[in-house]
Symmetry: C2
Subunit: 140 residues, 2 copies
DNA sequence: TTATATGCAAACAATTTGCATCCTG
DNA sequence: CAGGATGCAAATTGTTTGCATATAA
């Protein structure tokens, strides 16, 4: 499959651990922390070590297969790198994360290329606020 | 001054340490890590402890006087909270950070309020890429 | 004069590294 | 079978906490 080609092209080997970790990130559609991935993976492969998780996440990130999110203050979360760029909307009340696509961001990239000669290779757009429900709860 | 009113309103005291730390963030116009602030502050006040720096940063953040940036993978940076919202453009080559204001982002907030009923209270917009100079160096 | 802040040291949590062993290519 | 990958334990790094002492209000 494609993933294997990408890893091999970088001189990396395909191991059951790497397959497993990637499949977990895929199934859970992202937003998992390293530790969560570790625990989920150990259900299937109890000898897996946390360092392997970290090393694998590094490799997958370098290879552009996953991307890192700073949704929390103190740890990183991971999701599959998709083709279409998207942004995250985080509710500070209940913690839910909504993903959205935003045409404005595309225009922003174009503007910056024009204005500063910057070549944008990645972006973190994380908006924080309160969802409709949490706003209502606060009002009560 | 205003800062003191804000802190007092929250039952916080004004101490030389807090003044110093805030003034350092002001002078350096942000993008400083806790450790950098610590070292700069110790030049003026050698007995200052790192924990005081962290505690002060917490308080200043809670009070809305400074804000946190995730410009790096592994640590937080701080800057004075200004009225006008702005975004950060980070060069992965040389590390320089350009601040910019973006009308598109304002529109994005409006869209999200409309579409999801979300009330946006803060945002992290960090764009990563390569500045003109670093692109040129890479080309060579 | 009393609650809040500080400094110091020790504790923590997330991540990284060293190294012997294992296993993919 | 050789070099990359793993598991384990130990080290590192950024940040937080406990506690006795100092200090702002």
């Amino acid at each position: 499959m494609d993933v294997e080609r990408i890893l091999r092209a970088r001189g990396r080997r395909i191991t059951p651990q790497r397959r497993l970790i990637l499949s977990i990130i895929q199934e859970h559609e992202g937003h998992l922390s390293a530790d969560e991935i570790y625990h989920l993976a150990r259900e299937k492969r109890p000898r897996l070590s946390l360092s392997t998780v970290y090393r694998t996440l590094d490799i997958l990130r370098e290879s552009g297969l996953i991307s890192e999110l700073h949704l929390d203050r103190d740890l990183l979360r991971y999701e599959i790198q998709r083709d279409e760029e998207h942004q995250h909307l985080v509710c500070l009340g209940c913690g839910r994360v909504i993903e959205f696509k935003c045409a404005h961001c595309t225009r922003m990239h174009q503007d910056l290329a024009l204005q500063y000669g910057f070549k944008i290779t990645g972006s973190r757009v994380e908006l924080l606020g309160y969802c409709a429900e949490c706003q209502q709860k606060q009002a009560e």
